[in-house]
Symmetry: C2
Subunit: 412 residues, 2 copies
């Protein structure tokens, strides 16, 4: 019977609209930074829905919320999850789609009178975005037992360093008592917008995520000399801005040299003193390198580091660097990947396997259970932006693929 | 007799110290932004010195102050000038040295009982630095009849756009009645620190300034797309930061290609949104190009513009540009240049001709009378900085060269 079940796109969209009425911005888009009043409000709404669907609510030390459809089985649940927090001036779909699609799948099964052989959990992870508190994906990191809540609780709110994560969990009433890292899962699914342009460009309905790119973030502080732009001969300059520019263009060349899915971005560049007629003395810049293969990522980073050393020496400037982030690539479970491809096929949707270039809670879950993700197209690849958009038709396809794959995993 | 006259370095330094007690900064250096209370105070001090030396004070519409030793001659005066305003956190010598050296030369001649065949004027120009009001060199620009005071009066104070230049001239009591552009000069001398490293590096006492570099300032606004640093393939990026970096490294290559005294600087670079994991959407950057030959400067600017067009096209980004400043190179008077070289020679000081890489009031004066400048070494080439330094020995040499050249020009 499971192949005839379909989600109700109207019901799914109603929930999505209710979620995004909270923190709605005047010009469109939404802002629900982690552990703010808006986050409390959307969590309260999720509790209400868990209650209406007769799910067992558990809240852990990090505020991660799990609503479980308890069945006769004593085994670990199949889980569907994502996050309800957003970036500042964020979009309508990032995170919230995954949570409401999970509720929709569960409600579709309930309404069909099915009693699954395994429990089914819907999870809302705390602070996926990492905007108000760093690092990102903090809730799922702790859920998977990868980090100590006692340390993570110390994170300070970006806008006020007197507020800790633990304070703010208490303030909004979501500091739970469940110990993190002690909740086994059968498997984990996450439906998410692609946040990139590939599916739309290729006209493909479903992205089957087989791996998550590793991410290396490095910050460089370049220290040269602030000299007069008119009176200092070129040969006597120690121009930190020029070295920063050399690094920037090298990062582009490096992505060509490594090839494949290697990407590289210089996102931050701050000049000091940043005056029109003064040779830049200091520059802070960041390099974001990503690859799905760890050896290539390490090669890219090492090649970059050698280049920075060489060009800094040539210009007689000093530099310091900090490794801000080192996330190794994550491979998803081959059977889970296969189940998504088969679900898309049987529903008549086109699909392709692809890596995720962004980080997701799923990459943490992959360390504790078979995991994969389903991507749907993002218009123009835009995300973390009020113009983020995915069509109802694409959402419906993605949610039906999720329904079918989860149904299969549940053994219905 | 004139070759036996010498300035009194102690008296000169006393005046320099008195000037720089006004606006002195706790850690050294000085801040006397144009038309502030500090500027009023230093102008009042200059009036007192003009009075003590029995000079005739004239203040023009732009607040330029001229103190003239009236002699029997009815001809136009020989002038020595510079400026008493400074940049923020400025140095001890930039501008103020030229004014107090002028006073010292005049007092030396007076004390020697000389009665020159021509009048001798000391000038303090308004707002040379252009920090609190733009453009820079505004006072000398108007003094030379190159700009209309009615327009220049409208300049707004950087810190408060409700304050105009005219308001502030009135507020500090230095809005004069003399019409600008109607005060003929026999000639103009300016003693200044080099503000660059050349004299110190070459171990030369005196720089004989034969020309002032032309300055072209251009602002570029690059407009690409803000995409996710993980999910956007390299081939689909429109990275304004990368284009900015290409322009920066091209400016360096361009200075090698043009060669000679060509310099080029990217001093300002602002990324937006300036986030570690977002491809830069917009960049504002400035390019400062300088050369003593106009045709080379024009060639450099045109080559740059072609490059920007090409690289913006390759990356599919848009750009706008504004010509912020276009100062053509200025050649100083050959006889005046020769007189400085001869004065240095006869005093036994080493000298070399050189261009000025910075703008100075002298370049405005060059349009109305024979003009030149004398440079003395700047330690480490540092200027516009509290660490600006020139030794007493170098100041004494420079002021004695000024004395001898002015004496010759006066026909004593």
């Amino acid at each position: 019977m499971n192949e005839n079940l379909r989600i109700d796109i109207s019901r799914l969209k109603r929930r999505l609209d209710m979620v995004n009425a909270i923190g709605a911005l005047p010009g469109g888009g939404v802002e629900r930074l982690s552990l703010t009043n808006e986050d409390k409000e959307v969590r309260d709404l999720l509790c209400k829905w868990f209650d209406e669907l007769d799910l067992e609510l558990r809240i852990d030390q990090m505020g991660n919320m799990t609503g479980t459809w308890i069945t006769d089985s004593k085994g670990p649940p199949v889980a569907i999850g994502s996050h309800l927090d957003t970036v500042g001036s964020g979009g309508y779909f990032d995170g919230s789609l995954g949570v409401v699609a999970g509720l929709e799948v569960l409600e579709t099964l309930k309404k069909a009178g099915v009693m699954p052989p395994k429990p089914l959990s819907i999870i809302n992870f705390t602070n996926e975005e990492g905007v108000r508190f760093t690092p990102d994906m903090m809730g799922s990191f702790a859920f998977a037992g990868l980090g100590d809540p006692n340390e993570l609780w110390k994170a300070k709110a970006e806008e006020n360093h007197d507020l800790s994560l633990k304070n703010e969990l208490e303030n909004i009433g979501y500091l739970g008592s469940d110990i993190c890292g002690q909740y086994p899962l059968d498997s984990y699914f996450e439906l998410h917008i692609e946040q990139g342009p590939v599916l739309e460009r290729e006209g493909i309905d479903i992205g089957v995520v087989e791996k998550v790119q590793g991410i290396f973030w490095t910050e460089y502080l370049l220290k040269g000399n602030a000299n007069h732009a008119g009176t200092t001969p070129m040969s006597m300059r120690r121009d930190a801005g020029y070295v920063a520019a050399r690094i920037n263009t090298f990062v582009r060349d490096l992505t060509k040299q490594i090839g494949g899915v290697q990407v590289g971005t210089v996102g931050i560049t701050n000049f000091f003193p940043n005056l029109i007629n003064v040779v830049p003395q200091d520059v802070r810049l960041t390099v974001d390198l990503r690859n799905t293969e760890k050896n290539k990522l390490v090669e890219a980073q090492e090649t970059l580091q050698s280049f920075v050393t060489k060009v800094a020496h040539e210009e007689s400037i000093n530099f310091e660097f900090s490794e801000l982030v080192r996330f190794d690539p994550v491979d998803f479970d081959k059977n889970m990947i296969y189940s998504i491809t088969m679900a898309a096929n049987s529903l008549g949707y086109s699909s392709r396997t692809m890596p995720s270039g962004a980080g997701h809670d799923a990459q943490m879950m992959a360390s504790i259970c078979p995991t994969t993700m389903i991507f749907i197209p993002s218009k123009d690849g835009i995300s973390h932006n009020i113009n983020e958009f995915s069509s109802d038709a694409d959402i419906e396809k993605g949610a039906n693929v999720l329904l079918l794959a989860v149904t299969n995993r549940l053994g219905i």
